[in-house]
C-alpha cells in the first residue's frame, strides 16, 4: 500500500506538481469546517509556489497558512497525482523556519517540552498534584495566564492530568521472557506522562506471552512533534538519540504503544537521510512495530473473551491507518476480546489533534474532536478505544458520556 502520509517524494520537492483539480476539498476536515481554500492542500501548495517564486508579501501570513493543517493525509488519499501532502507541508514549515528564522509559538514550546520530557517528567513527578491543580487554574478563562497566552492556557487545560508516577518509574527495566521473542519497548511522552496504564497493559500481555522486554532507561521523545512544527534539526537530533539508544540492542523488534511514535520511528531512515546515521536509522526503522501490529502479526496474540459492560468502537489514528496501513490489527484484538465482530469501517476523519494543531487552533481542534466522539456515541458506542496518545488526549477532553481508553487497556490478559 502506498503510504499516504509519507511517499517517496522528497519533502522539499516543488509543490507545482499539484494539478489544482481541487479533489482535496472533498475530504479535508478543515475545509469542511472553515470553507476557505487557504486551509486546503491546493491553496497551501499554490501559495508555497508563490513564496518560492518570491511573490509572498507577508511571511507571517504564510506561516499561519502552513500551520493550519492537521497533517492527517486525507487529501493524499484523494490526490489525483498522489502528492504526499503532509510531507510537503512539514518540509515547507522546516524550510520557512530555516529561511525566515525562528518565531515564538506555543507549538514550538510544546515540541521543546516533549524533547526535554525524559528529564522533566521524573523531576516534576513529585509535584504532579500541584501541577494538575495549577493547570486547571491556568486554563480558566478568567485567569491571568489565559489573558496573556490564551492558546497556551487553553492547550494546557486540555491536557490530561500528569501521572503522579511516570511510566518508567513504575515499570521494570527488564522483563524476562520464556525464550521466544525479544523486544525493546519505546515508551514515548504520552504514555510516560499521561497514560502509563496503557504501557502497563502492554507489559502484562508480553509477560503473559513470555516475550522478553527491555525498556532502555535513557530513551527520549520520538521527534514527531518537532518535525511537525518545522524543527527538522531538532527532530534529527532526537532521531540520532533514538539510534544511539536502540540500534545496538540485541532485540528482534522495537515496539511502541503509541501509533504516532511508531509512525515517526518507522521514518527514521528518511529523517536521517544524508547524515552518518542514515543506515543505522533505516535498519532501526525496519525493526519498529506498533503494539497491535506486533501482537497480531508477530506474537500471534489472541485476547481471551471477556465481559465488557459496554459497546466499544475504535478510532483510527491517522498515523496508524494512513501512516502505517494498520487497519485490521486493532479490530482483530477488539473482536477477540469482546466476542463481537468489528465491521466498523476505518474512520476517515482526523480527531483534530494534528500534532501541535490542537495548541495553535484549540477551538477548531476541539470542534473536530467533539464531532468524532459525538458520531461514535450516536452509533451507540459507550467506550471509544484508540491507540495514539495524541488522539487519546484529544478525544478524552471532548468526550461526554463516552469512556476513551487506549486499546491495550481492553485487550490485556484476563486475570
Amino acid at each position: 500500500m502506498v503510504n499516504p502520509l509519507s511517499a517517496d517524494i522528497p519533502s522539499s520537492s516543488p509543490s507545482s506538481a499539484c494539478v489544482r483539480c481541487g479533489a482535496c476539498m472533498a475530504v479535508c476536515p478543515l475545509y469542511d469546517l472553515l470553507g476557505r481554500e487557504t486551509v486546503v492542500a491546493r491553496g497551501k501548495l499554490n501559495l508555497w509556489d508563490l513564496y518560492q517564486a518570491g511573490g509572498v508579501a507577508s511571511k507571517e501570513r504564510l506561516r499561519e497558512v502552513l500551520e493550519c493543517c492537521l497533517l492527517c493525509g486525507a487529501c493524499t488519499e484523494k490526490c489525483a497525482v498522489g502528492l504526499a501532502v503532509p510531507d510537503l507541508i512539514k518540509g515547507a514549515r522546516a524550510e520557512l523556519r530555516v529561511r525566515e528564522g525562528w518565531k515564538w509559538s506555543p507549538a514550538l514550546v510544546l515540541a521543546y517540552l516533549a524533547w526535554q520530557s525524559p528529564h522533566l517528567l521524573p523531576a516534576l513527578a513529585p509535584l504532579a498534584p500541584v501541577i494538575n491543580r495549577l493547570k486547571s487554574r491556568v486554563g480558566r478563562e478568567s485567569g491571568l495566564a489565559y489573558r496573556l497566552w490564551p492558546h497556551l492556557a487553553w492547550g494546557l487545560q486540555g491536557l490530561p492530568d500528569l501521572s503522579p508516577v511516570p511510566f518508567r518509574s513504575q515499570a521494570p527495566r527488564h522483563l524476562p521472557g520464556r525464550g521466544k521473542v525479544k523486544i525493546a519497548f519505546f515508551v514515548g511522552c504520552g504514555i510516560e506522562a499521561f497514560f502509563p496504564r496503557a504501557g502497563q497493559a502492554f507489559l502484562a500481555i508480553c509477560q503473559h506471552l513470555g516475550i522478553e522486554v527491555v525498556i532502555p532507561p535513557d530513551q527520549g521523545c520520538c521527534g514527531l512533534l518537532s518535525e511537525s512544527v518545522g524543527e527538522r534539526d531538532l527532530a534529527r537530533t532526537q532521531g540520532r538519540q533514538m539510534v544511539q539508544e536502540f540500534a545496538a540492542l540485541p532485540v528482534d523488534f522495537v515496539v511502541t504503544a503509541c501509533a504516532s511514535c511508531s509512525y515517526q520511528l518507522k521514518r527514521l531512515g528518511v529523517l536521517l537521510d544524508g547524515t552518518p546515521e542514515a543506515r543505522a536509522g533505516a535498519s532501526l526503522a525496519a525493526k519498529v512495530k506498533e503494539a497491535s501490529e506486533f501482537l497480531v502479526q508477530v506474537a500471534g496474540y489472541r485476547p481471551d473473551l471477556r465481559q465488557l459492560p459496554a459497546e466499544v468502537a475504535f478510532h483510527d489514528p491517522c498515523h496508524l491507518h494512513r501512516g502505517q496501513g494498520i487497519i485490521q490489527e486493532p479490530r482483530e484484538l477488539l473482536a477477540a476480546a469482546t466476542g463481537r465482530e468489528a465491521p466498523q469501517p476505518r474512520e476517515l476523519v482526523c480527531c483534530g489533534q494534528g500534532g501541535a494543531f490542537g495548541v495553535l487552533y484549540p477551538e477548531i481542534s476541539r470542534g473536530l474532536g467533539a464531532a468524532r466522539t459525538q458520531a461514535h456515541r450516536q452509533k451507540g458506542a459507550q467506550i471509544l478505544a484508540t491507540s495514539c496518545t495524541g488522539c487519546l488526549v484529544q478525544l478524552r477532553q471532548t468526550a461526554d458520556n463516552l469512556r476513551v481508553v487506549h486499546l491495550l487497556e481492553l485487550v490485556g490478559p484476563v486475570t
Partner: protein
C-alpha cells in the same frame, strides 16, 4: 482597486467575509487549469441582495467581478484575469427545497454536487449529471459551465435538469428566469442562455432543478477489444441496437498502457481498447439490456467481457476509469486536456485521426472518455522542459480542433471555452455569430464588468501574473 471600494464592500458583508491579504487572495487566483491571476479582493456573499449591491458598485467604479464556485473548472472560467473582485459562492450552500411531489429541488449555487445527489437520493430521487469532480464541485459552477459527465448518454447534461434560475444581472437587477414546471415557453428561454454562460452574464443565486426517480438497478460491463477500430465500431453498434446504455466510456491503447497495472483485473494480452458500460433502470430491463450488450460486444470480437452484477465489482471497474487522470502523469509532466465532441458516427475517424496527429507531432496523445455521446477527452502529453515538445503541444491541439471541425464536431463538450479555448473560438463560430453573441453580452453587461476576458477571442493578454 480603490481602497474606498474595498471599505464599502467590507462594510456591506463584514470583515469576516472578505479576504484582503495577498496570501489569501492568491488561493482564489486559479481554477483547475494552469492559469492564474491575483484578484484584488475575495468576497463571500450570502445573499442575492449583497451581490446586487456589489455589482452596482462594480458598474459605478469600474471593477471586474468574477463568480466562483469551488474553482474546479477546466477552462479558466473562474480565473480573475482582469483582477477585481472574486465572488466565492460557497457560503450560499443551502438546499432550500426537495419536493418529491413536484420532482424538483430548489438550491443555492454553492451546494456541493455530491451532497445534492445524496440529499435527493434520500427521497428516492435522482439528479443524474455526474462530472468527475462531483464530490467537490458546486452546482452553481455546473450550471454556469453546463457540466456533463458519464451518464449523459442516457440522461443528458446539466441543461436538461435546470428548470429555472434566479440571477443577479451584471447591472444589479435580480431576475427570475424559467419555471418550476417541465414545460414553459413564456418569452425567450433565458434559462438556457445562462446555462454554460461561464459567469459572463450574471451571478446565479438560486436554481430550480428537475429530478427523476432513483433507478432501482445498475449493472456495469467492461469489454476489451483487440483494435481501437473494433471498439469504436462496437460503440456505434450498441447505440444503434437501442440498448440505451446509461454510460459508455472508452480508453484507447495509450490510456490502457498507463492504467494497465492499476486495473482491478488482468487485461488479456492483445487488448488495445476497453469499453466500460453502465446500465440503469428497472431490474429486469437492466438485465436484458446488459445481456444484449454482452452479446453484442462478443459479436464485435471482444477478447474479454466482464459483467459486474454486484456493486463492489462495478465500483472496481469504475475505479479503473477514475485512475486514468492520475496515471497520465507517468507519461509526461504536462498535459493539455481537451474535451471535444463529435457526431457518434465520426468517433472512429476522430480517434484514428488523433493517433495520426500523435505520430506526426511526436507526442503521446491519449483518447478516453464518453464515447457514448461522442464527447472524447483528448490529453496531449508533453514536457515543458523540452523545447520541441513545448512547441509541438499547442500545434497538436490546433490539429485536433481542425480535425474535429472537419468531422462536424465541437471544440468543447462540457468544459467550456473560458480562457484556454478562447483563442480558438473562430474555428467554430462565424464572425457574424460571434458579433451577435458580443451584442448579447453587451445588452446584459454594458460596462463589461462581469467576468471579462472569457469566451471571446482576446487581444491576447498575458494571464500569468504574480504581481499586483
Amino acid at each position: 482597486m480603490d481602497g474606498a471600494v474595498v471599505q464599502d464592500i467590507t462594510g456591506l458583508v463584514g470583515a469576516q467575509r472578505v479576504l484582503t491579504s495577498r496570501e489569501e487572495r492568491w488561493c482564489y487566483a486559479y481554477d483547475a487549469t494552469d492559469r492564474e491571476h491575483l484578484p484584488d479582493l475575495v468576497v463571500f456573499p450570502e445573499s442575492a441582495e449583497e451581490i446586487s449591491r456589489i455589482l452596482k458598485w462594480a458598474n459605478r467604479y469600474g471593477f471586474p467581478v468574477v463568480p466562483r464556485g469551488a474553482g474546479t473548472g477546466r477552462s479558466g472560467g473562474a480565473v480573475p484575469v482582469a483582477g477585481g473582485v472574486v465572488l466565492v459562492l460557497t457560503r450560499m450552500n443551502r438546499i432550500l427545497e426537495i419536493n418529491p411531489e413536484d420532482l424538483v429541488a430548489v438550491v443555492e449555487p454553492g451546494v456541493i454536487l455530491g451532497k445534492l445527489k445524496a440529499a435527493v437520493a434520500a427521497h428516492g430521487l435522482y439528479y443524474p449529471p455526474d462530472p468527475g469532480s462531483a464530490d467537490y464541485c458546486t452546482i452553481g459552477g455546473n450550471v454556469a459551465e453546463c457540466a456533463g459527465g458519464a451518464v449523459a448518454v442516457q440522461y443528458g447534461v446539466t441543461r436538461d435538469y435546470v428548470l429555472g434560475l434566479t440571477v443577479v444581472l451584471p447591472t444589479g437587477e435580480i431576475i427570475d428566469a424559467g419555471t418550476r414546471t417541465m414545460k414553459g415557453v413564456v418569452g425567450y428561454d433565458l434559462t438556457r442562455l445562462f446555462l454554460g454562460s461561464e459567469g459572463t452574464l450574471g451571478v446565479i443565486t438560486q436554481i430550480i432543478l428537475r429530478l427523476v426517480p432513483q433507478p432501482e438497478a445498475r449493472q456495469t460491463l467492461a469489454a476489451g477489444f483487440a483494435t481501437l477500430e473494433a471498439a469504436t465500431l462496437a460503440v456505434g453498434e450498441i447505440l444503434r441496437a437501442g440498448l440505451t446504455p446509461t454510460a459508455l466510456e472508452f480508453m484507447d491503447g495509450a490510456t490502457l498502457s498507463c492504467v494497465r497495472d492499476l486495473l482491478p483485473f488482468a487485461l488479456p494480452a492483445g487488448v488495445a481498447a476497453l469499453l466500460l458500460l453502465a446500465v440503469e433502470g428497472h431490474p429486469r430491463d437492466v438485465a436484458q439490456r446488459a445481456g444484449g450488450m454482452v452479446r453484442l460486444c462478443r459479436e464485435q470480437g471482444a477478447r474479454a467481457v466482464i459483467h459486474a452484477r454486484k456493486r463492489e465489482e462495478a465500483e472496481r471497474l469504475w475505479q479503473a476509469r477514475r485512475s486514468v487522470s492520475p496515471a497520465t502523469a507517468r507519461l509526461k509532466p504536462q498535459k493539455i486536456s481537451e474535451d471535444v465532441a463529435v457526431p457518434l458516427s465520426a468517433i472512429p475517424k476522430l480517434v484514428a485521426g488523433v493517433q495520426e496527429i500523435s505520430r506526426r507531432r511526436l507526442l503521446p496523445i491519449l483518447c478516453f472518455g464518453h464515447a457514448g455521446d461522442g464527447n472524447i477527452h483528448i490529453n496531449v502529453m508533453y514536457d515543458r522542459g523540452v523545447e520541441g515538445e513545448r512547441q509541438a503541444a499547442p500545434r497538436a491541439v490546433k490539429d485536433i480542433f481542425t480535425l474535429v471541425r472537419a468531422l462536424k464536431g465541437t471544440l468543447s463538450g462540457e468544459h467550456g471555452i473560458g480562457l484556454t479555448k478562447a483563442p480558438y473560438l473562430r474555428m467554430e463560430l462565424s464572425e457574424e455569430a460571434i458579433a451577435l453573441q458580443k451584442r448579447l453580452k453587451q445588452a446584459f453587461d454594458p460596462n463589461n464588468i462581469m467576468n471579462p476576458g472569457k469566451i471571446f477571442p482576446p487581444g491576447l493578454r498575458s494571464t500569468y501574473s504574480i504581481n499586483d
